[in-house]
Symmetry: C2
Subunit: 276 residues, 2 copies
């Protein structure tokens, strides 16, 4: 038996599917949850997307993504905060309690990592209460250090926790994504720390394969194809007290060129083989 009780499919994994195809495909495959992205949800209509997944009986395990909170320019900063409030509203509308944040990289011309990190903390102080009052938690996602310049100056789970712990646990949590964190020799301790503090907001899976493609965005591996001990991670996150969804989020152009149902069948089989 394939136990998919905790399985969630992040929609970017099968980006070729429209939202209705996603809902239908997941129901057919016995997948109980989905992670959604703002752009396709906005395009389809936020309320309409909410109805679609609700009628399909799917849980929405996360919404990706808010963030990009490192701008120096005052107008850009205000626009980012406003956009993040909209993201919180959208998360609440689609029925998830988890808004994933990609914090942002260095502003053009800047080399000031500590400054960028402090601006993220300032933004969390503004956004946290707003999110909590909407029943949504901000989930800081540490991204692999190869994205530190252009996407996310938060590169390790320990660093994400240092940030999150400055705020109440119901306002700010962290995302544990194997693709970003697998290389870190201190990851076991950080996972335990995240669990002890009630900070785990999402657990996401992708495998690490090489060589990396140009731009390093679309080279994530199908579960089991790469270097990550995914079962070790799942057991460790479970041991830290996480009983929530296990969301598969793979950005891979090869998967996007294939039939969606076939990809989903492969993903769930790999999940059983390499994760459960």
């Amino acid at each position: 038996m394939t136990d998919l009780t905790r399985f969630s499919l992040n929609q970017e994994t099968i980006k070729q599917w429209s939202l209705p195809e996603l809902a239908e495909g997941c129901v057919k495959a016995g997948v109980p949850g989905v992670g959604l992205w703002r752009a396709p949800v906005q395009e389809y209509g936020v309320e309409r997307a909410a109805r679609l997944v609700r009628h399909a009986g799917l849980a929405v395990t996360s919404l990706c993504r808010g963030g990009f909170l490192t701008a120096l320019d005052r107008a850009a900063r205000a626009a980012a905060l406003a956009d993040n409030r909209r993201a919180v509203d959208e998360a609440a509308t689609v029925g998830t309690d988890t808004l994933v944040l990609v914090s942002g990289g260095l502003p053009p011309g800047s080399r000031d990592l500590p400054g960028a990190r402090e601006r993220i903390a300032d933004a969390l102080a503004e956004l946290g209460p707003y999110a909590a009052s909407a029943g949504v938690r901000l989930a800081i996602e540490p991204l692999h250090p190869m994205y530190a310049a252009d996407r996310c100056v938060v590169s390790t789970l320990a660093q994400a926790l240092d940030l999150a712990e400055r705020f109440p646990a119901e306002q700010v949590g962290v995302v544990i994504d194997t693709y970003h964190l697998w290389w870190d020799d201190t990851i076991a301790e950080s996972v335990t720390r995240a669990g002890d503090g009630g900070r785990i907001a999402a657990f996401q899976l992708a495998d690490w394969i090489t060589p990396l493609p140009a731009g390093v965005l679309l080279g994530r591996g199908q579960l089991g194809d790469g270097s990550i001990d995914l079962r070790w991670f799942r057991e460790r996150v479970d041991a830290a007290g996480w009983t929530g969804p296990v969301e598969v989020e793979i950005f891979n152009e090869g998967l996007w060129e294939r039939d969606g149902a076939e990809v989903l069948a492969e993903v769930t089989a790999r999940y059983v083989q390499h994760v459960l």
Copy 2:
């Protein structure tokens, strides 16, 4: 005045130069030191290369590289150890006390990072005394986490120090390379720790630019073109007690297509502007 007293040019930065061109170009530009690579040195002849740089009055600040110590297979492991002993001999012959080690990635099919790291420690235990008796120190280079699978399972300076500190400081040190370490929010403490323990064996510079090219090997940036606060690094490494060479090691296909002397003039100008 351009103070190049501590400046060293790693030969891969101007890979288009032969060894005689490198020696002549450095002397002309007032560059006092070079970092050498094994393959071009072997091709030219190790003794002959040693004479060439000695007659040119150049210091050899490091030899790249030994390492690749993570093999599981017994024969492959013995071959790696033998090759590293040859690398030590070559370092001694060309007149440097620093052999840079790129530790190695995961063996094919393996997902066991802790195991790979222990095999590196086992190899250092065998190689350290041999190196020290030749007047050469093994310098563990932590590589950016994007190389953890295929090149180096040692990803942070703290991790390199955890490894190095299991051995006498005269046998095993660490390399601080800005390109690999700039993103780490704990780097300042690790640099201090490295200095306090007398573990800094080499200090190398390259800048971080995006987007990364496919394979992520040849995308290092010219000093000042990227996101790294190079002067902050140099000051921090100096404050930790390092008075040795500052070696510029940039792998960039754009630089390799240009006139070598022009590239060297640009590198030294950038060094003065962004590092000194």
